[in-house]
């Protein structure tokens, strides 16, 4: 091999050179020794290349088992949902009355003590009888509705301007704040109760020591056994978990061994970018105010206040002029109209406002 014109780069990228550096053998040693005797000027370049090769770090990032499972879970779910959507769009679902009736017949009667086959048969029978009866009145032959299996996941969301309460099959209650949503497997799994949350919700968990109750918010998992807690997980905001009653464990997937136990009256703030975790005591009245139709602004940044009001009243804010960047808002409002709240805030924060339908224009002085 002619190495007379070899640069450091060439050495580093040369397969034989790398083989020699990483697994030297008698024959390789002799081979390279001869080469360097022939081209002694190249020793320097070879040395540098060797240092690079030996000192370069092999990045060892581990895919944690639970991360792997979590990602698979999402893949599984999304492909499953995609399949369902696909079958739905492929199937010609007729919009005539008999198929519609058949469908409601189907979803309304959840006779759990019948076996799957019996249910299908029953539904088909009902659909068939209805179609027979209606068939007498319509010349066109009705299209048979196919039995579509129950969706695996239930999803509930409270649109802006609305708050909703859910009672789950296990007796747990979820109070969903405006602009938030939860998703969970219908009737839960046998050994665990898992809820995915976006936004804010207050949970009253029914005690069931055999099935831990977990709320997943992005990378953070809050697990409880019979307890009441509030989670606020809005995008681009610090994640807040406040424990009103009982005990919860919080895991951050991102960092290993990061389980934090919360006691009654304690809250956890998690920066979802840096995963910095901070435990503090919280004012229960403040955190669960929203469940009592109360808005409390206590040193609240403008962006957060806007998010709260937009969700609460189902409006959009627009701004003219920029306020001072360190503007914070204060105020307590119990079941108030938007106008009263804006009126209240406008004095201290120094702005004028206009409400046009569902748009609010704020003009800073």
């Amino acid at each position: 091999m002619d190495i007379s014109k070899f640069t450091v780069e060439d050495f580093a990228l040369n397969k034989e050179f790398r083989a020699w550096v990483f697994s030297p053998s008698q024959s390789l040693n002799e081979y390279w020794k001869r080469l360097f005797e022939k081209y002694p000027a190249q020793v320097k370049n070879a040395k540098i290349a060797k240092e690079i090769l030996l000192n370069i770090n092999y990045p060892k990032y581990q895919f944690l088992e639970r991360e792997s499972l979590e990602v698979w879970d999402r893949i599984d779910r999304e492909t499953e949902e995609w399949e369902k959507k696909k079958t739905k769009t492929v199937k010609v679902v007729s919009l005539n009355s008999q198929s519609l009736l058949g469908k409601y017949e189907n979803s309304g009667k959840q006779i759990v003590w019948f076996s799957q086959e019996l249910r299908v048969a029953g539904i088909l029978l009902v659909a068939f009888s209805i179609s027979l009866i209606f068939g007498l009145f319509f010349t066109k032959e009705p299209v048979r509705t196919e039995y579509i299996a129950d969706l695996v996941y239930d999803e509930y969301s409270a649109p802006p301007g609305v708050k909703s309460t859910l009672t789950m099959q296990d007796g747990s209650k979820v109070l969903l704040n405006s602009g938030s949503s939860v998703r969970f497997i219908k009737n839960f799994e046998e050994d665990k109760r898992i809820i995915y949350l976006e936004g804010e919700a207050y949970f009253e968990v029914a005690k069931d020591t055999l099935r831990p109750f977990s709320v997943i918010t992005g990378e953070v998992i809050t697990t409880a056994l019979g307890t009441s807690f509030n989670i606020s997980a809005y995008p681009h905001e610090v994640l807040k978990i406040a424990l009103v009653e009982g005990k919860v464990a919080v895991d951050v997937v991102q960092t290993e061994d990061s389980r934090v136990l919360l006691e009654k009256g304690e809250a956890l703030k998690i920066n979802t970018n840096s995963f910095e975790v901070k435990k503090e005591l919280f004012d229960s009245e403040l955190v669960i105010a929203w469940t009592k139709k109360k808005i409390i602004f206590q040193r609240v940044k403008l962006a957060e206040a806007v998010r709260i009001l937009e969700n609460w009243y189902g409006v959009k804010f627009r701004f003219q002029n920029t306020p001072s960047p360190d503007l914070v808002l204060y105020g307590v409002f119990q079941d108030e109209t938007l106008e009263n709240i804006l009126e209240g805030l406008s004095y201290s924060a120094r702005f004028q406002y206009k409400i046009k339908n569902d748009e609010v224009i704020i003009i800073f002085n």
Binding site: V8, E9, L13, E51, N55, Q62, F63, V71, T79, Q254
Partner: protein, 203 residues
């Protein structure tokens, strides 16, 4: 396609092919088996190029969802592993260019810290040999553009040859070599001061 891959074709594992065919037939188990076999490696590879856990997890997730969605049109591949790495590589570059702005901000700040650490004074005073070389190279590696980091990862750590590497990166073998060459040159620059001391002191 077939002719491009030479010798490793012979060794392509029949087990991988079974799973691949299973997937193409629409059996979820095939997807699951491919996932459990390759996901850790894909994660490690992705993190080496773009060390952001949730970003890489999202990429892997989307990759497998797409595998499922487009299973009917999937190419008949000879090497599932190389195919998957290629898909991940494409996806990462695509996502990065999509979110260029956000990611740049991150890179700029990383660069700044590195830059601050490396004042000339530091370089001259601080020569703790290996440890120093190690950190210098680590910083150098982190500063490399994504594609260069990828080529190093593939050639040095994933032990791919030039043909496979160029296939994964979607460029020809010559460009692949040039890319690797540029990467080594940057790495060399990042340690040249320390190395100079090494040479002078004769260790």
């Amino acid at each position: 396609m077939r002719s491009e891959i030479s010798d490793n074709l012979v060794f392509s594992e029949s087990e991988d092919m079974d799973q691949w065919l299973q997937l193409k037939r629409g059996e979820k188990e095939g997807l699951a088996r491919i996932y459990s076999k390759f996901s850790s490696e894909l994660f490690r590879y992705g993190m080496a190029i773009k060390p952001n856990r949730s970003f890489i997890k999202d990429c892997i997730q989307e990759l497998f969802i797409d595998l499922w969605k487009y299973r009917n049109t999937l190419a008949q591949t000879d090497n599932v592993r190389v195919y998957l790495i290629k898909c991940l590589s494409n996806r990462i570059s695509k996502e990065i260019s999509k979110e260029k702005k956000i990611i740049w901000e991150g890179e700029i700040s990383a660069f700044e810290t590195v830059f601050l650490e490396e004042s000339v004074e530091d370089r001259l005073i601080d020569f703790q040999r290996d440890e120093d070389l190690h950190t210098k190279l680590k910083n150098g590696l982190e500063k490399l553009p994504v594609r260069q980091r990828e080529v190093i990862q593939l050639l040095f750590f994933e032990k791919q040859n030039y043909e496979e590497t160029s296939k994964i990166l979607g460029i020809n073998v010559d460009s692949c070599y040039t890319l690797a060459w540029k990467a080594i040159r940057s790495l060399k620059k990042s340690i040249i001061f320390t190395l100079f001391w090494l040479m002078v002191t004769g260790i």
